[in-house]
Amino acid sequence: MNAVIEVKDLVKEYMIAKKGRGLRGSIRSLLMPKKTKVCAVDGISFSIAAGEIVGYIGPNGAGKSTTIKMLTGILHPTSGSVRVCGISPQEDRKAVVGKLGVVFGQRTQLYWDLRLGESFELLRRIYQIDKAAYEASLAVLSDVLKLDEFIDTPVRQLSLGQRMRGDLAAAMLHEPSVLFLDEPTIGLDADAKHAIRGFIKEMNRERGLTVILTTHDLDDVEQLCSRLVVVNHGRVVEDGPIDAIIAKLTPHRLLVAELERPCEDLDLDHPAATIVRQEGLKVWYQFEKSRITAAELIADLSGKLPIRDLSVKEPDIEDAIREVYKTT
């Protein structure tokens, strides 16, 4: 597999003027601003192969957007190198952005006052797509995103879900090989989220589109991404398949047992599991997969306790991510 995106030892430092407090502080920072160096990205390396859907996640201020801006060429790194389709976006931004599609959930590239179709027509001319290719591309996008319903509506009158679909189509018209998505489902209802995830999957399957997704919505990540790159404090803290990250970070599972009667006289303990919570008739056991299987634990417990109901909870991506943010 050939790498579509290669990032090596990427560093980005900012100088930030520190504002003093109060009037005196404001005057002082006006006359002699105190500047501090902030390292937004501190030596990030990764490489992404064609056709991957990668979740690029991390808490607010982890350096996600800064990385994306360097990948797209609108920020210059302090040091390190970036290659997109073998080209440096800093040296040849125009060549690189022609191969990229970018969608921000919180911004739009559509023209607010005009009908959606006008924005598409403009993009056709900017990316110099010939008429036939444009028609074909738009037909496919319309089909998946159901653009026909609102292509003649002014953008300002679109619902957020429709606008987002419009923005996705706008980013895909020139058939880019890489799509950057920054919180594409933010603020959307379940239906719209579903439509957008479906579209991303379809484009990935049909066109071999490489997708880099930054999001805080872990459902997006779970449903779309096969691989996660987790960053915190400007560094990559985890990089691998989702399942492996979950397994590594959260080896625990939970067994919830509901008893038939109050348990004052019962011996609830089990040597391989710890009780983490107890509430009324319900008892939560935490156990490690490597020490005991769920089946064994259930067998042991139901042997000595009057159990009415049982359920096993797998740790999910959310637990794993919380674990990452906590420990780094």
């Binding site: 900012y14 957007s65 801006k69 797209t72 060429g73 609108i74 920020l75 210059h76 931004r93 125009k94 060549a95 952005v97 022609g98 990229l100 970018v102 921000f104 919180q106 911004r107 739009t108 590239q109 023209y111 006052d113 005009l114 006008e118 027509e121 403009l122 993009l123 001319r125 900017i126 990316y127 110099q128 920054d182």
Partner: protein, 265 residues
């Protein structure tokens, strides 16, 4: 590429035509400004000051009307566009496109200018003709020189506006800077009071600044204040300013690109 620019201009034109109310208010304010400046000049000439020696009252009225019309026509939003887009981080979406940023903004302003011809300049000119008689050029040759001179004026104005807008790449709070430039421009361009009425030393300094070549030069040509050769000389100066400002803008833009700080996200 040219097609993209044309389409941007067309979209701006369409956008401006959708806002009918804004159009009416803008005609109204421009009309008031024009009437005010004409009345002030008429009053000044009636007072019998020394003004009459430089220009006749009719020439001055024509000058004022044309100046207001040009003011409505010369759309230079680029300064605010860059400022607002930097502030809101929206500039990123423009940078993701394989189209030169400034070229796109110029096309946008040219679209604005085209809509201004329909929306503003023609109605304003017609109103003025009704109120004060048709403000014609001194002679056909003046008109022939006036039009290219106006285009050169627009070049200077736009480049100045873009240069000030560029400051937003370094300083987020552009507010004052833009205002300072606008005030200097209003005074030193001769848009309201021609520089001919200023004291000698000010005129000398002004001749070495770009501002008077934006309004006074084409307007002086229109009313026949300057002869043909002088007019051609002034237009050459305009062209030199465009070249200088364009070089400066290119240098600033090159530095701005490595400096880009995008807010938010």
């Amino acid at each position: 590429m040219l097609q993209a620019y044309l389409y941007i201009a067309k979209m701006k034109l369409l956008t401006n035509l959708t806002y009918r109310f804004e159009w009416l208010t803008s005609i109204f304010t421009n009309l008031i400004l024009m009437l005010a400046s004409v009345f002030i000049w008429q009053a000044a000439y009636r007072g019998g000051g020394g003004a009459g020696e430089a220009l006749s009252v009719d020439d001055m009225v024509t000058y004022s009307i044309l100046s207001s019309t040009l003011g409505a026509l010369f759309v230079c939003n680029v300064q605010d566009t860059i400022y607002v887009k930097m502030r809101e981080g929206q500039i990123a979406t423009d940078l993701y496109r394989p189209l030169p940023l400034l070229g796109g903004y110029l096309a946008d302003d040219i679209g604005g200018m085209l809509s201004s011809i329909l929306n503003n300049a023609i109605p304003l000119f017609l109103f003025a003709a009704l109120f004060f008689g048709f403000p014609g050029p001194a002679d056909p040759l003046s008109l022939a020189l006036f039009i290219p001179s106006c285009l050169l004026s627009y070049g200077i104005l736009w480049l100045l506006s873009a240069l000030v807008g560029m400051v937003a790449f370094w300083v987020m709070e552009l507010g004052n800077m833009g205002m300072v430039k606008d005030v200097i421009l209003r005074v030193l361009s001769g848009a309201f009071v021609p520089i001919w009425f200023f004291p000698g030393p000010v005129q000398t300094v002004s001749a070495f600044l770009p501002f008077q070549y934006t309004y006074q030069t084409p307007l002086g040509i229109y009313i026949g204040r300057v002869g043909t050769y002088e007019a051609l000389g002034d237009m050459a100066v305009q062209a030199v300013w465009i070249a200088l400002l364009a070089l400066l803008l290119a240098a600033v833009w090159r530095r701005a690109k490595t400096k880009t700080l995008i807010q938010g996200g």
